[in-house]
Structures are given as C-alpha cells and as structure tokens.
C-alpha cells in the first residue's frame, strides 16, 4: 500500500533537487525494501508466473507455458463482475468522501485538546475484530433485527423490510469499514491548513463557498487523493463483506479469484484473473498520476 499512497501524499518541496541516498539511508531503508521485495515484488512475480501455467487434477501447478487462462479470462462474465466490483468500490469511495471530508475537517479544525479524543473516537470501533463488527451489522439489519423492530414499533414500517443481503447492505458495510481510511489522511491535510490562506481568501472578497472550493479543497487535495486511493483499492477486492452482508448473490472479483484458488482447484486461472486486476490497478494509478502531472 505504501507504494500506492506515497506518490499522492508528498509533493516535492519547491527547489528540491535529487540526491543519491547515502549508505546510512540505505541501511535505514533496508527493512522496508526487504519487506517490499519479499511480500510485494516476489508474490506478484509468482502470481504472474503461475498465471501462465496449467494445473493437474489435484490442483497442483504444472509448469507448461499456456495462454489459455487469459483467453478464458476475457469473457464477458468476468469483465462484468470486474466492472461491478469497480462500481461498488467507486460508490464506496464517493460516499466515504462525502461523509469523511466534513468529519475530518471538523476534527482538524477543532481545538487542539479535542483533536486527539475525536480521532480516537474514529478509531475505537476498529479495536474490535472485523468479523465481529460485520456480524453485529447482520444482527442490526436482519428482518428480526433492531432497525426493523424499532421502525415497526414507531409505526414507520408496517412490516419488516429486507435490509440485509442487498446492495444497500454491501455499500453500508464497505463504507463503514473503510471510512477511517478516508478520514485520517484528510485530517492530516486539514490540520496542516494555513489559516492565513483562508483569511487571505476572505480579505480578497471570496465568500465561504468560493474559499472552500478554491482554497481549502486544493490545499487538502493530497489528503483527499490518498484517502480515495486507500478506500478504492481495497474495496475492489474485498469479498468478506459482500458475501456476509450481501448474501453472495452479486459475485465480486475478489470472491471469484478466491474460489478459483480454492474450490475450483485452478490456481493458474485465479492467478490470471488476479494479474488482470493488478493491471487495472496500475492503469488507474498511472492515469491518475499523469492527470496530476498535467495539472501541475
């Protein structure tokens, strides 16, 4: 993830010139480099290699070069599932931004002694296991759950409605789980916001709306970009929520890959789908980057 977030988070300071890192820098960096090599580069290379292989009846990899997995992958079904996953990830990112930005802004502009507590409140739910939180949502949303029973006793619903196992539940689950990843980077940007700039905008005659859209948003943009990436990328492949809260009726790309690796006993095909997903990520990042470079 560090590799994805870094280019969006830090803009080079004006007048910075490139220096070759010294020996000490390499020593300090070595754990990170080693980590990246072992857990990012090596698995990616393995995945790519496996995607060109075949498998036997037990699911063991047979090292015969074959393009068959890729031919099979370019079928409308997988593309449709991929687009659907991208759509859900996009929706999640937009909602996280709409909800997360005001929250992050308020926390970042709050009196300093409050900030720590407010940030803590964002994080507290995440001290509980992911699975327990998801099961809690199942209890809340089910037909005999808290929401339905309260709505019925308040007279708003006449009979229980199906909240769980729906696209609504999927998006809710995704937003709930990824919201902090949006709030934290935006908060970091907001905290660094120079009050003088905002005051200058007002002095020069900008109304609140204009000051927000032309000064505050551009200044907090690194946080927004980092947050969007941190929410969008993991949402695409997240399948635990879609299966538990969505009922598994809308297959997502992460789930499809997982199933080919397991019950399909076809690691090469799963690897081919995984490699295609990786290429989609790279393409998205590259497009986002070239867009930014053009603007600068």
């Amino acid at each position: 993830m560090a590799g994805f977030a870094a280019p969006t988070g830090v803009a080079p300071p004006p007048g910075a010139h490139h220096r070759t890192p010294g020996l000490l820098a390499w020593i300090i960096l070595s754990p990170l480099v080693l980590w990246l090599l072992l857990f990012v580069v090596a698995p990616t290379l393995m995945l790519t290699a496996v995607s060109f292989a075949e498998r036997d009846a037990l699911g063991r990899i047979v090292w015969n070069f074959s393009l068959q997995n890729y031919f099979r992958a370019f079928d409308w079904v997988w593309l449709k599932i991929l687009f659907q996953s991208l759509y859900y990830a996009f929706l999640t990112t937009v909602i996280c931004m709409a909800v997360g930005y005001p929250a992050a802004y308020c926390i970042g502009r709050a009196p300093e002694r409050w900030r720590g507590i407010l940030l803590m409140l964002v994080m507290v739910p995440f001290w509980t296991s992911f699975l327990i939180r998801t099961y809690a949502w199942i209890t809340i949303l089910s037909k005999e759950g808290i929401v339905n029973s309260q709505m019925i006793s308040a007279g708003i619903f006449t009979e229980p409605i199906s909240l769980l196992y729906s696209p609504f539940a999927i998006v809710l689950g995704l937003v709930y789980n990824f919201l902090p990843f949006m709030i934290l980077p935006i908060y970091t940007s907001v905290e660094k916001l120079d009050n003088a700039m905002i005051e200058a905008a007002y002095d020069l005659g900008a109304g609140p709306l204009r000051a927000f859209s032309q000064v505050i948003i551009p200044l907090t943009r690194p946080g927004i970009a980092a947050g969007a990436m941190l929410v969008f990328v993991p949402s695409i492949a997240m399948f635990a929520i879609t299966t538990l809260m969505g009922g598994g009726t809308n297959p997502m790309i992460g789930e499809v890959i997982f199933k080919q690796f397991t019950s399909g006993r076809n690691q090469p095909f799963g690897a081919a789908l995984g490699t295609i997903l990786l290429l989609v990520f790279i393409l998205t990042l590259w497009l986002a980057r070239s867009q930014r470079v053009k603007e600068e």
């Binding site: 498998r55 036997d56 009846a57 037990l58 699911g59 063991r60 079904v77 449709k80 599932i81 659907q84 296991s129 992911f130 699975l131 199942i138 209890t139 089910s142 037909k143 005999e144 759950g145 229980p160 199906s162 769980l164 196992y165 635990a240 299966t243 009922g247 598994g248 009726t249 809308n250 297959p251 499809v256 199933k259 080919q260 690796f261 397991t262 019950s263 399909g264 006993r265 076809n266 690691q267 095909f269």
Partner: protein
C-alpha cells in the same frame, strides 16, 4: 458442513495450541475442519496420552488439499471429505493405517465402511457423516415442500438460502433432472443449465459457513443446508421442519487419514482409536450434531438426539443418498458455470 468462515478459523487460531502439563515426549499435529472436533476432546487426548497436540484448522477441503499438494506442513492427521479422500488415495498421498492399532473401528456401522473412495478402509477411518436437506420455516411457508422443485418456485423468490458451493448446487440440479450427482459430463451440464437459470435468480443468500443464521433471523423462509445446521435449527425452534428432498440428496462422509509425510504415525493411530471410542464420539455429536457413524456412540445418545431427523435420516431416506466422487479438473468449470449464472 462445518465450513465456518475462513476468518473465523483465523480467530480460533488464538485459542489453538493445546498444551499439556505432563512432560510431553509425543507430538501430534492435527489439520482439521474448524468447528468439528471439540477442544475438550483434544485436551482430554493430550492429557491422557501425554501428547503435545497442535491443531490447525481449514475452512474447505480445497484449502487443505492445496496446502498438502504444495508440500506444506508436517501434519499427522487430516480430515478430508469423501471426494478429496478419493483423490488423495488415487495420488498416493496417504500412509496406510494399521488396523490392529485401531480396534475401535468395529464401532462403525458397516454402511460407512469399505466405500468407493477408499475400498477396504486401507487409509481412512470415518469421523462423521451428514446429509444435505431442506429446512422450512413453517410459520412463513404454508405449502408443502417435498423436494428441490418445491423450494425453487417463483413464489419463494428472495426467501431462499442455499449452500455457497458450486458442486452442491450442480448436484441438486442433476438430481432434479433425474441424473446422478456424479454424472458430470458436458452434455449433462448443458441439460441442467435451464434448471440452474431458473433456480439461481430466486436465491437470496449463498452461505456455506452458517446458513442457519439467515433462517434464524427470519431473512429467508426456506433453505438447502447441511444436516448439522438443520439439526441445530430443529433444536432451537419447532417452527423449523427438515425434509430430505424427494429427488434424493448428497451424503458426505468426513474421515481421518494420515498423510505420507507424517512424522508421528503412532500418535495419529492412537488419536484415531481415541476418536472412535463411544463416549468420545458421543461428546463430539453433542456439540456438532452430524450423522454419527459410530453405533456404540449412538447407543449412549439420548432419544431426542437420535430422533433429530436432520442428524439421522431414516433407512428409507438413506437409500436416496448419493456420495460425491472426485471430479478433478472439472471443479473449475463447475465453479465457472455457477458464477456465470449468479452474475446473469
């Protein structure tokens, strides 16, 4: 079938290593399903034999298979289902068992021995079996349900939970079209496609780990689930009814086996014999009410447990049960067919 979530098994990892107080000079590494062997049973074995037991869990047969096939882990006991056992026997992955060391094998009902996946039980001893059947919430569904064709009817749309298992779903469609669960040929798959096209859009929830949840919460009214899950529902509320599909159904048999690479074969055999003891087997059934193949254990069980139709099918129903055979590379195609129809 005890396919409690992959993630749950990760949680369980915290509770796992069952250490003993006795200075252990014997070791046993068990690789088994999550939610299948009670911790108390493992602790008792460790204490009684002075063995240091470590347990690792898996959530699907294929997860176990891929780990074994990749040569990972030195396990002494594994717990595959019948069709994976067949593949492991065929590929010579298993260590033959010494029947003299496992006298308790006599407790197992003959109908669970000498089956096609391991003729003569050279490599495996049965652990638990179970059926797949229909659970109906009779408060919500008043019409009579006898088989798959009654479950997958338009009026039940959005009210159905099924196992999230492509092989199972395809097997039901084969049965509904009068074919056997193992008659998986391209021709037959084409024949059952219209059935699946009709069925799958009616489903609300796919869940293999805990299909009972959606039924208990009232989110769905009918389900096709593992017998063990059905038995728990029947114990919880009288409104649930269990039906073995008129078209027939799948019976699974999970057995214990010793991989060839095992380092502690003697302890593994000792464990097999221990598990087959009547009182131990009964204890397992109390916690996980599957179809217990152990006749001596059944003699110790309560009338209520034995009369749970989701645990113990009648002799008549047993005749309609079919056992899965290994289908090798076709597993991937079956996965694709079901995924395609889900995404339609």
């Amino acid at each position: 079938m005890k396919k409690t979530t992959l993630l749950l098994s990760a949680l369980a990892a915290f509770a796992l290593p069952a250490t003993t107080h006795a200075a252990p000079n014997k070791n046993l590494n068990i690789y088994c399903w999550s939610e299948y062997i009670p911790q108390a049973v493992i602790d008792r074995f460790a204490k009684e034999t002075g063995t240091k037991v470590t347990v690792e869990n898996y959530a699907s047969n294929e997860e176990m298979l891929s780990k074994l096939a990749a040569g990972g882990g030195a396990y002494d006991i594994i717990q595959p289902s019948e069709y994976v056992m067949e593949a492991l026997v065929k590929e010579k992955f298993l260590h033959p068992i010494d029947r003299a060391k496992i006298p308790n094998l006599k407790n197992i009902a003959p109908q669970f021995l000498n089956l096609a996946f391991d003729p003569g039980n050279k490599f495996s001893v049965p652990f638990m079996a179970g059926t797949v059947g229909i659970v109906v919430n009779t408060d919500l569904i008043k019409t009579e349900i006898r088989g798959f064709n009654d479950v997958f009817k338009p009026e039940n749309k959005g009210n159905i939970v099924v196992l999230d298992d492509a092989r199972e779903i395809v097997a039901w469609a084969l049965l509904a079209n009068g074919m056997g669960v193992n008659q998986i040929t391209d021709k037959n798959l084409n024949k059952i496609k219209p059935t699946l096209e009709k069925w799958l859009p009616l489903v609300k929830v796919y869940d293999s780990d805990s299909p009972k949840t959606a039924l208990l919460n009232g989110d769905v009214a009918v389900g096709v689930v593992w017998g063990g899950e059905g038995a728990i529902l029947l114990n919880k509320n009288k409104k649930f009814r269990w039906i073995i599909p008129a078209e027939g159904s799948h019976m699974f048999i999970d057995s214990l086996a010793i991989p060839k690479a095992a380092k502690n074969v003697e302890s593994a055999e000792e464990f097999m014999n221990f598990i087959l003891r009547p009182e131990i087997s009964k204890e397992i059934s109390e916690e996980f009410p599957y179809l217990n193949p152990n006749l001596a254990a059944r003699a110790l069980m309560t009338k209520k447990e034995l009369e749970n139709p989701a645990s113990f099918p009648t002799d008549e129903e047993m005749k309609k049960m079919q056992i899965f055979r290994d289908i090798g590379t076709q597993a991937s195609e079956i996965e694709e067919i079901v995924t395609t129809l889900k995404a339609q």
